[in-house]
């Protein structure tokens, strides 16, 4: 398979690799996928509780190059956004930005799910009842 330059760039220079303090009340953690499916994505956000702005984002991904690129791109996009704005990120935006072929769409869906799961975790910690449902985008 031929990879787009952007996928290769994220693969070779992944942005924001790492972990944030899971226990902190201003950190939201999303972990999606499963090892037997060949993909697990962990995405974390650090939110400024006063402003609601995402100040930091980190990821770790077990998966193909497109899954790594999708999550790396997601962390770039998350930083500086408000939590509400972050919820607007769609897997199709990732597909377009990275020029993912059809068989790799599910890798972008996983990234969207990871964003939603991280925000949901953050909101739960903050005691907010605004439930976030992971989008069931058809891959």
């Amino acid at each position: 398979m031929a990879y787009s330059d952007k996928v290769l760039d994220h693969y070779n220079n992944p942005r924001n690799v790492g972990s944030l303090d899971r226990a902190s009340s201003s950190v939201g953690t999303g972990m999606v996928g499963a090892p037997e499916c060949g993909d697990v994505m962990k995405l974390q956000i650090q939110v400024n509780d006063a402003t609601g702005i995402i100040e930091d984002a980190k990821f770790k991904t077990f998966g193909c190059g497109s899954a790594i690129a999708s999550s790396s791109l997601a962390t770039e996009w998350l930083k500086g956004k408000s939590v509400d704005e972050a919820l607007q990120i769609k897997n199709t935006d990732i597909v377009n930005e990275l020029s993912l072929p059809p068989v790799k769409i599910h890798c972008s869906v996983l990234a969207e799910d990871a964003i939603k799961a991280a925000i949901s975790d953050y909101r739960k910690k903050q005691g907010s009842d605004v439930a976030v449902t992971a989008a069931q985008t058809v891959a």
């Binding site: 499963a34 499916c37 994505m41 991904t61 077990f62």
Partner: protein, 404 residues
């Protein structure tokens, strides 16, 4: 060192320059049809074909009359299995094969099931070998054929072929073996191994693509096959079609070279394989060899790098040609059925790389590839949430994963 480095010799091999040289005259001056009986062109072509038949037979301890030419192993497997099924339909309708066979065997068997045949797919043990006791128990008085490959194309595991053949012989059941990966790589002898029918393809032993052969035993027992291709009655009526003379000459030459060089080539590829394995194991933790190390082709290494996904691994070594059992590299997004048949978790299948070391690989290449792979695995493990959990002492099998 030339780049990219080719370490995918189970998929196909480079045509040996000596093979190509032997073939060339049969495209030009000696272009005749081997079936033309009344002129020089035909005779010369026929001589080339008959020499090749002897060379192939000699490599596997057969008689030249027992070699039927085909277009490759897919056709050979089809002809063997369907040909026996049709010819011996009155005797029985039961076929036994194994879960780790090549698709050319498995899908042929599936097709026969649609036509009323019954097929037993034997499971394999954790090391990839079939259980002889299980085979013994699976044979019934309706069994007409056992088809078990000699060596596996993914894990290189070599089955106890001689014992399988002996068991079949005792029960009066024909034994077919897809010997594609074994012939020219390890000693194969159809008599010592009690094989009745064997599939061969040229492109796995440094010959050209699109030409193969089927060994069909002529006495004790005499095997008969119903032709699957009707026409001019070539190849003792078992396979019609004008012979691919240059290809056949190439297959013959490839067998002759293999016969001369087998022992030293086995030793050389085994040393390279063992070196690759030793370097990878010295440089990394959590690497697992898939399948028996003892019963294995000398040039094969199938190895999993836990907590790293195979396709991302291949991306990191893009100047090295290998393949992976990961679902992400397959069109169907299913991990390798061969690795799954060993009882391995899907996660280990997703993390696997198959190396096929061959005649043209060098120690320099092996060293380059192992160094590079160690780097890439380390880098990807830094990216891997699973490796992080493993290092924190979390047992991944107890984690509740969020499935969609």
């Amino acid at each position: 060192m030339k780049s990219p480095i080719y370490l995918d010799n189970h998929a196909t091999t480079r045509t040996d320059p000596r093979v190509l040289e032997a073939m060339l005259p049969y495209f030009t001056e000696n272009f005749g049809n081997a079936a033309s009986r009344n002129h020089e062109f035909g005779w010369t072509a026929e001589q080339g074909v008959e020499k090749a038949r002897k060379q192939i037979a000699s490599l596997i301890g057969a008689n030249a009359k027992e070699i039927i030419f085909t277009s490759g192993a897919t056709e050979s497997d089809n002809l063997a299995i369907k040909g026996v099924a049709e010819m011996y339909a009155e005797k029985g309708n039961h076929i036994i094969t194994a879960a780790t066979e090549h698709k050319a065997v498995l899908d042929t068997c599936k097709k026969l099931e649609k036509h009323g045949y019954r097929v037993t797919y034997l499971p394999v043990q954790g090391d990839g070998l079939i259980d002889l006791q299980m085979l013994k128990e699976a044979i019934t008085d309706k069994t007409i054929l056992v088809s078990i490959m000699y060596a596996n194309n993914e894990i290189g595991v070599v089955q106890p072929v001689a014992e399988i053949g002996k068991l079949c012989r005792e029960r009066g059941v024909l034994f077919h073996s897809d010997a594609v990966q074994a012939i020219g790589k390890i000693p194969v002898d159809v008599n010592a191994d009690n094989i009745d029918i064997a599939s061969i393809t040229a492109h796995k032993l440094y010959g050209p693509k699109g030409v193969g052969a089927l060994y069909v035993r002529r006495r004790s027992p005499r095997v008969q096959l119903t032709a699957q291709m009707d026409g001019g009655g070539h190849e003792r009526g078992m396979r019609s079609g004008t012979l691919n003379v240059p290809g056949i000459v190439g297959l013959g030459e490839a067998c002759a070279i293999a016969q001369r060089e087998l022992a030293q080539e086995m030793e050389r590829t085994r040393a390279l394989r063992d070196r690759l394995r030793a370097r990878l194991e010295a440089g990394l933790d959590e690497v697992y060899v898939n399948g028996s190390m003892e019963h294995r082709l000398p040039g094969n290494l199938n190895i999993s790098f836990a907590y790293v996904e195979g396709e991302s691994l291949l991306m990191g070594i893009n100047d090295v040609a290998v393949s992976s059992g990961s679902a992400c590299t397959s069109a169907t997004l299913e991990p390798s059925y061969v690795l799954k048949a060993l009882g391995l978790g899907d996660d280990i299948a997703h993390s696997s790389i198959r190396f096929g070391i061959g005649r043209f690989n060098t120690q320099e290449e092996i060293d380059y590839v192992s160094d590079k792979l160690i780097d890439v695995v380390r880098k990807l493990r830094e990216l891997s949430p699973l490796y992080e959990m493993f290092k924190e002492g979390i047992d991944l099998s107890t984690v509740q994963w969020a499935h969609d």
